[in-house]
């Protein structure tokens, strides 16, 4: 087994990010698209921590903490929007949404 470098973590982060991106592009269920966005954020968090370790600073980890907090707020608001849309007898289908007004 070779020694772990930052690149290992970065490759993992890239793989997770790309999988999340594919999910956002392919799936139509809004909630699953939302989960994919969370996965992409998580991948970016991973690369931030990896860079923070590589450069021997704490800024990356502090940034990740903020990202987690903002992602929690974003999840609450986004899911509430999805719920409000579904209440208006629309479906939870990204192709069906054309506008948020009315």
């Amino acid at each position: 087994m070779m020694e772990l470098t930052t690149n290992h973590f970065l490759f993992l982060s890239a793989a997770l990010f790309v999988i999340g991106l594919m999910g956002v592009l392919v799936r139509r269920n809004l909630i699953i698209m939302f989960m994919c966005v969370e996965l992409m954020m998580n991948a970016v968090n991973l690369s931030l921590v990896a860079f923070a370790r590589e450069t021997s600073t704490m800024y990356g980890e502090g940034f990740v903490l903020f990202t987690i907090a903002v992602a929690a707020a974003e999840a609450a608001v986004g899911l509430a929007i999805i719920l409000a849309l579904s209440r208006r007898s629309y479906s939870v289908d990204a192709d069906e949404f054309h506008a948020l007004y009315d």
Partner: protein, 245 residues
Amino acid sequence: MAWNALFFYLLSIISVLAAIGMVAVRNPVHSAIFLVLTLFNTAGIFVMLGAEFLAAAQVIVYAGAVLVLMLFFLMLIDPEKLPERGGGHPVQRIVGPLLGVILFLEVAAAIANRATSGTTGNATPENIAFVGGSTQAIGNLLFTQYLLPFEVVSLVLLIGVVGAIVLALPERLGERLATISLGHPRGTDLALPEGPATAAPITRADQQATGALEATREIILVRDPDLYTGVGGRTSDVGEGTTQR
């Protein structure tokens, strides 16, 4: 170090497979469970990177709170409104993975060819251990240099919660609260349908048709008592629409 690498490969393979499962599986609840698995494995990788506090925050916030929130919303949404998998445009299903693979190759090339430059900080493992651990080091950073962003984040969370509550309220209750709290002048926020000004009080048939009578009556009373006199232009066939608005 070999054990380290072994753990890394184990965690990363599980997390990537779980992420693929999350995207590919049909049932949204299963997707959520797969996402939890991915996040747990990523938390393990955070621990490997020396960020124990972030791993704990990840498990608590993401895997605990956000995913439970998602599951709740999944239960709240009518399952018939969830679209089936693979129904989208065929171009979407082909181009999406293609773009993903291209992006991954680009990023992989960039990672493989990257060169590290610049100076490194002083948060070496020895210094972090001297401070008392990664949690203490993050606390030092947050409460000195990043104090203002930290407070702003608390405000963002508060606004997010309030916004989520307002958005997810049932519409009638939300309008009622908005009408009361914003103190709208009479009738300014009430778009009445066009029609002849015939008096049409709410009848027993109307009540049986709409179902939610007491609540709607109260809302109308809160907004504009004149509606009950019939001068607002209500007609009997738009009675349901009027009571809903």
